[in-house]
């Protein structure tokens, strides 16, 4: 058995946007899967509003790294997928799905199939599917990692716009420090495997933020600090691997 994550302790406030960064292979995704309830915990507890997490539930929804859309369903059908599991009346589910398709900017592609969409649009649908469940916590597993640089920035901006409208508690996994600092209220830095919390950096950059904030000296300062922190971990990990 591999110990992926160990001794991760931190609290996330309601409506907060937390990003988790760390050297690759540090167990970020494992941690997120555990929060989603897809992976059983060996020890320790994960609680949401005081309730222990042991299986997937409608209070959490995941935006996956790969769009993972059902190729035989239209955009609307895909966004409906999570909502269908909620056992709410069909017409209510439909209105809700439509609202979120609209919110993520896919209003013109309701009847399109995933394979007809670009990578960025597929991730929009992926996001809408999670939001439509109306979860208390939105879990995002490197959702923009596979996108090209321009699309990624557009999607970051879009995510902030959408998050601003829904104000969901969000846990965002990424290996992109700039992305983490741009999006989050707090950035949690994981150590090399087994992942522990190395430090938690509060991002004191006011919202609303637009992409130009990435060039601000304060932004660069925070980014550099986190970069140093991760570099240290990566070096330690490389040393451990060669030993």
């Amino acid at each position: 058995m591999l110990l992926a994550v160990d001794g991760v302790t931190f609290d996330i406030a309601d409506g907060e946007f937390v990003a988790i960064v760390g050297p690759s292979g540090c167990g970020k995704t494992t941690f997120l899967n555990a929060v989603d309830g897809l992976l059983p915990l060996t020890s320790g507890t994960l609680t949401l509003n005081g309730k222990q997490i042991d299986r997937p539930g409608h209070d959490r929804a995941m935006v996956f790294q790969q769009p993972s859309l059902l190729p035989w369903r239209t955009v609307l059908g895909n966004v409906m997928y999570g909502v269908e599991m909620l056992r709410i009346p069909k017409d209510e589910a439909l209105t809700r799905a439509k609202r979120f398709v609209e919110l993520v900017g896919l209003g013109g592609f309701v009847e399109s199939y995933p394979l007809e969409l670009s990578g960025g649009m597929q991730q929009r649908a992926n996001l809408a599917r999670a939001l439509a469940v109306d979860p208390e916590v939105l879990l995002l597993d490197e959702p923009f990692a596979a996108l090209d640089a321009q699309t990624r920035e557009t999607m970051q901006q879009e995510l902030l716009r959408i998050w601003n409208e829904t104000r969901k508690t969000a846990v965002f996994i990424t290996h992109d420090i700039v992305e983490a600092v741009y999006l989050a209220d707090r950035v949690v830095v994981f150590t090399a495997r087994p992942g522990r919390v190395k430090e938690i950096v509060t991002i004191d950059i006011p919202r609303p933020r637009d992409l130009r904030v990435k060039r601000h000296p304060r932004f660069v300062e925070i980014e550099t600090r986190i970069w140093e922190s991760i570099r240290e971990e990566a070096a330690r990990d490389a040393l451990a691997a060669s030993a």
Binding site: D36, P56, A61, M62, Q66, S68, L70, P71, Y81
Partner: protein, 295 residues
């Protein structure tokens, strides 16, 4: 505030770069780069595959007729396309052919439908429950590896020489192709989709209905298409052995009485049936191809 770079004031780069061997390469500033548009595809180009194929088939029939008309071998031995056509017309006029087609068709439809009705649900089940699959795998492997027509004598003992024994052979022929492909379809489901379903709190039944079933459709169609071939072999071979009516029996009798033209007529009938069914299922398959897991 820094002075913005004035691109116009820069030397005409790379136009001014000159080497000793080559004269200066000058790219005029006002020359927009244009590409030549591709020539429009002609009708001939677009239907190339179909045209060449048709011509090849036509050439084959002409050559066949030529060889047959030369009468190097007797008509009993090698009939030409014209003889085959005449035999076909004669069979139609007799009224024999209609009965044979009806009987063979009936056998095929019942046997094939049974194979689909059993193969698809059972395949879904075996694909979904590994332990059930472990139990049935040896039997499936045994039957799939064995030519099932060797069972014809047994079926005749058990079911007689009527259509029942033929249906059994056709059924056994088609069912394994459908079964094995359906199992493969369920087993090759995109794991990321299963994760999505579980993450959204889908029950096992919901996962089956929303992911496993639609996700297996392309593979089921492949199984159905391959099953057509097996079923048609079943029709002909089972009737060869012992039957009262049917295309296979007609061909068998024609063969043993040196009516080669009729054998060819039967051959083309079976081939036409196979081509038509396979073509239809292939069209359907292509339609659902996008559903196959992308790797």
């Amino acid at each position: 505030m820094e002075e913005p770079i004035k691109y116009d004031s820069l030397p005409n780069f790379p136009g001014e770069i000159a080497t000793a061997d080559m004269g200066p390469t000058r790219v005029p500033r006002d020359s927009a780069v244009r590409t030549t548009p591709l020539p429009p595809q002609t009708w001939l180009r677009r239907h190339e595959a179909l045209l060449i194929g048709t011509v090849a088939v036509a050439a084959f029939f002409v050559a066949w007729q030529g060889v047959a008309s030369a009468r190097i071998w007797s008509r009993l031995f090698l009939p030409g396309p014209v003889d085959v056509w005449e035999a076909f017309v004669e069979l139609v006029k007799d009224g024999e052919l209609a009965i044979d087609i009806a009987i063979s068709g009936q056998e095929f439809v019942i046997g094939y439908a049974l194979a689909a009705l059993v193969g698809i649900p059972f395949g879904l089940l075996l694909g979904w429950y590994p332990r059930l699959r472990f139990a049935f795998d040896p039997f499936i492997t045994f039957f799939y590896a064995t030519p099932r027509i060797v069972l014809i004598p047994l079926f005749i003992i058990w079911l007689g020489i009527g259509i029942e024994s033929k249906i059994a052979v056709i059924y056994l022929g088609a069912v394994f192709a459908i079964l094995i492909n359906t199992i493969a379809g369920v087993r090759s489901l995109d794991t990321s989709l299963l994760r999505v379903a579980r993450s959204f709190g889908a029950s096992d039944r919901q996962i089956f209905r929303t992911i496993a079933l639609p996700g297996s459709v392309p593979f089921i169609l492949t199984g159905l298409r391959l099953g057509v071939g097996h079923a048609l072999i079943g029709v002909v071979v089972a009737e060869y052995v012992a039957a009262q009516h049917g295309i296979g029996r007609m061909m068998m009798i024609a063969g043993s009485t040196f009516q080669s033209s009729k054998v060819f007529a039967g051959l083309f009938l079976i081939a036409a049936a196979g081509l038509l069914l396979t073509y239809g299922l292939q069209r359907l398959e292509r339609h659902f191809d996008a559903w196959r897991p992308q790797r």
